[in-house]
């Protein structure tokens, strides 16, 4: 599986992406690709530029230069909502639920719908067909909440959930959309290890549904477990790319991780 990952079409490819803040080169000519239908890990020590890279790809920050190709589109410089509508969905380091809405509302609202969400529809009302879509959408949202074990909380304020439950809710929203690509920003951050199992299962269910996955994560055991292909960043650049096993012996990867929680421990 791992060896095959580097070949085949890309869901996302990034070329020469750069972003400087004042004199600091947060991302400095970063290039990598995420093979379609696979799980790609993005790792690197703190300050490597992973989060900035994701912000640049998803439109939350403007790149100084570089190209981001997603499917057939060049998306660098587009605003976040346009990128999301093309089917690239991202999460954030801290879960960003809509705290005042219920869990069911959070999941049902995940998919953007130009027609039903139009302002004039709020006044004129929905067509019969649109009402059917809404009903199906709610059914699906319920089913997904059942799948993620959150159904009993569906009427709860999302802001009242625990950290781990918020992560699950985020996964449920992604499940609802089934985007072409999802970028998960540190999904294991602040989550107890028991949930890791559930998240790994969810990630493979994303793949089954046709979603390509990218995971940024510090937890290397988790990376080894779920990814087919790993991109290593340090100081704003990609220093290595390949299956996890081949990186374990890569000199520059080991150097970059010196002083970090040991890279070697991960596979143990």
């Amino acid at each position: 599986m791992s060896t095959a990952a580097a070949e085949g079409p890309s869901a996302l490819s990034v070329e020469g992406l750069a972003k400087h803040f004042g004199g600091v080169k947060a991302v400095d000519g970063c290039s990598f690709r995420a093979p379609k239908g696979r799980v790609t890990g993005l790792i690197g020590p703190n300050g490597a530029g992973k989060s900035t890279a994701i912000d640049l790809i998803s439109g939350f920050k403007l790149p100084d230069r570089g190209r981001v190709v997603f499917g057939a589109d060049e998306i660098q410089g587009l605003p976040p909502h346009r990128i999301a509508r093309l089917g690239l969905i991202r999460t954030f380091q801290t879960p960003r639920e809509w705290a005042g809405l219920s869990l069911l509302e959070n999941v049902a609202l995940a998919r953007w719908d130009r027609e039903r969400e139009a302002f004039w529809r709020a006044i004129a009302g929905l067509t019969r067909a649109q009402r059917q879509v809404s009903i199906h959408e709610l059914d699906r949202a319920r089913a997904i909440l059942v799948e993620f074990g959150l159904a009993h909380l569906r009427n709860e304020r999302a802001g009242n959930l625990s950290g781990g439950q918020k992560r699950l809710l985020e996964f449920a929203r992604i499940r609802m959309i089934q985007p072409a690509l999802v970028i998960l920003d540190e999904p294991m951050g602040g989550v107890n290890p028991v949930l890791g199992e559930r998240m790994a299962t969810a990630i493979s269910s994303f793949i089954e549904a046709g979603t390509t996955v990218m995971v940024v994560e510090h937890n290397l055991a988790f990376i080894e477990r779920v990814t087919d292909h790993v991109v290593v960043m340090a100081e704003g650049r990609v220093i290595a790319e390949g299956p996890f096993d081949t990186l374990r012996s890569n000199r520059s990867v080991i150097d970059a991780y010196l002083g970090e929680p040991s890279f070697d421990d991960a596979g143990a």
Binding site: D55, G59, F60, K61, L62, P79, P80
Partner: protein, 293 residues
């Protein structure tokens, strides 16, 4: 040329008052992350205190000290009674901002009850105009400029050279981190508000003195100009705020002198809108960015 210099001279007086008010506002903002919409009422309180004490004692100096003290106490009261109670609980900054608007309402109307809503004439002999360098200043105008410079110097010394100043800077930069390092953030914030109140109260006195008349709403109008200066300079950074104040003060004096004084406020806001739109982090910071950066 002569008229330009004359206007510039007046502009520097306005700018000095504005700088005092704006630096006080910025100090309040820095330590609590709250844009205090009731800041203007500190100035108003200072003006009333100076007026009353000046009349009782016959000394403008005692009046000025009373203004500063009143300002300090009002600011301390605001912090202790309202702002701190929100900030301590981690309430969203916008909520505290709204609460300070409510406080402004309460203080203005308390002053209306105590002193009435009518204008109070506060005339102090301005002294004969003197030629100083290229400028023509009255004795009052000169006092305003010199005292503003002196206060700025003292503030600079306090902020950059004392232990308290160090704590103040730490709290401004990152309140949580400052707390972890053992700084009593609430005490530092309270002391900073008191200090800011002293400065703003004094600013209220010199403003009343140079305008010659005031009422319970006068601080609020001036606050709107203060806000322009503070945002132009970069909210939360004390000394660039003062540069913003000088620029705004001089621009206003010229527009007031050459267009019409009654449009001054509208003009201040036009400046503010332009600054916020193109340089939301102040005139001195530039970056190409999305709304999320």
């Amino acid at each position: 040329m002569h008229e330009v210099l004359l206007t510039l001279g007046f502009g520097l007086v306005t700018a000095s008052i504005l700088a005092l008010s704006a630096v006080a506002f910025t100090l309040e903002y820095g330590v609590t992350n709250v844009a205090n919409l009731s800041h203007g009422e500190i100035l108003t309180g200072g003006a009333y205190a100076a007026f009353v004490v000046h009349r009782l004692t016959g000394s403008a100096l005692v009046g000025a000290l009373a203004a500063a003290l009143a300002g300090g106490l009002i600011a301390l009261g605001m912090h202790w009674l309202v702002v701190d109670r929100f900030v301590r609980r981690g309430t969203a900054t916008l909520t505290v901002f709204i609460a300070t608007l409510g406080m402004s309402f309460v203080i203005q109307n308390t002053l209306v009850i105590v002193f009435g809503a009518a204008n109070v004439a506060y005339t102090i002999p301005q002294g004969a105009p003197q030629q100083i360098g290229p400028f023509l200043w009255t004795r009052t105008g000169l006092t305003v400029i010199v005292s503003a410079l002196a206060i700025t110097a003292v503030l600079y010394l306090i902020i950059s050279h004392t232990k308290f100043g160090k704590a103040l800077r730490a709290v401004s930069q990152n309140r949580d981190l400052a707390a972890v390092t053992g700084i009593n953030t609430r005490a530092v914030a309270a002391a900073t508000w008191f200090l800011a109140g002293l400065v703003a109260g004094y600013a209220g006195f010199v403003l009343a003195e140079s305008v010659g008349t005031f009422n319970p709403y006068f601080g609020f109008s001036f606050f709107l100009i203060t806000l322009t200066a503070a945002v132009a300079g970069g909210l939360g950074r004390a000394f660039s705020t003062m540069v913003g104040a000088v620029i705004v003060g001089i621009v206003l004096e010229f527009t007031g002198g050459y267009i019409s004084a009654s449009y001054e406020l509208a003009f201040a806001f036009a400046i503010l809108a332009v600054v916020i739109l193109f340089r939301p982090r102040g005139l001195f910071v530039n970056a190409r960015r999305t709304v999320f950066e």
